[in-house]
Amino acid sequence: MNNTSNNARSRADLIAAMAEDLTPVRRVKPVEGMLLIAAATVLATVGSIAIHDFWWGLLSGDASGYFLITHGLLLVVGLASAAGVVFSAQPRVGTRGNAPAWSVAMLAIVPVAAIISMISAGGEHLHKGMNDPAAWLCTSSSLIAAVVVAGASILWLRRGAPVSIERSGWLTGIAAGSLGTLAYGITCPVDSLSHVGLWHIAPVVIAAVIGRFAVPPLIRW
């Protein structure tokens, strides 16, 4: 009985103290999150162009269809997962949109197509594709650009109150990986299916896995 009244008093004291300190609060608006991630993507793009130079083949019609489709899909995945990150900053229960999952499934077709195409063309092509001399540069540069997008996403999530921490980690990784690769991708002149299908998708997978494990401790509240 005594314990119950002590608890009631301590809660009443806590409520009184919090009410006394109450000040107007700035509402967390999803549009601000989208703008923040968009700004980070632009920054990553400008940085990539400054370091690697823009590939003018993109505008002169030299880019292959594979290149355009892959980067178009990266944009779709980036938008869907960035929207997922933005909305996950606001607590909610119930059904969640599964657009990121479907868009990732669509993107997954590209590396599968690349591998099938290399296998059908003979073992030598597969070996060449796996030992692509531009692989390391494309993967690492995309991941560096992804760090900028991930930073903005984490900043946003820390301002909010994500309640599905693991999901937010995956979404952050996928958004950062796809938008980072897109930011770097426009500087890459290698536009074969084997190259973009493997080495412009690998950073998304790597970033997603890193996001799953590295982001949760940073956004837990």
């Binding site: 301590s10 009184a16 919090m18 009410a19 006394e20 109450l22 107007p24 967390v28 607590p91 109150a161």
Partner: protein, 176 residues
Amino acid sequence: MVADEPTFARLMVSTQDGDKAAGNVLLTEVGVWLERYFLRRVPPHQIDDLVQEVLISFYTKRGTWDPSRPFLPWLAAIARYRWVDHLRKVYKHDSQELMEDDAVEDSEEEVVLARVSLDRLFGQLPEKQAEVIEMVKIGGLSVREAAEKTGQSESLVKVNIHRGLKKMASLVEKAD
């Protein structure tokens, strides 16, 4: 009587705008709502601590509620997040205890897991895991006694409890 959704939403708008009186009423009403929410989820003597934790989270994160969306699902999501966090701490505590000592003592945290819709959760665990968790964590048997009763080795009992509790925490976390 607990306030209804429109009352909560109206008070919350005023609270977000810095109205101290509305804030006081809202926090009190939220406290009552949370007490009911946790009633069947944690042992009675832990409810107040958890309610106060959620009230602090609610206060700190009040800017994340969007007035165009319903209030109670937002509050329930925060309450659930804190509850899962609480379970995670219990799980960590239990794991450490298993690694440190064979003897199982009555700890108040264990009771939490014992009350979390156990039948439903046990139904999703392999039978051997559910069996030893029930014996050791609820029935109060020692690991050795559970090993003798089930025919499992002591280390297997520990592993099954460890894996089972981990799965239970993850099931609760994933459930909407």
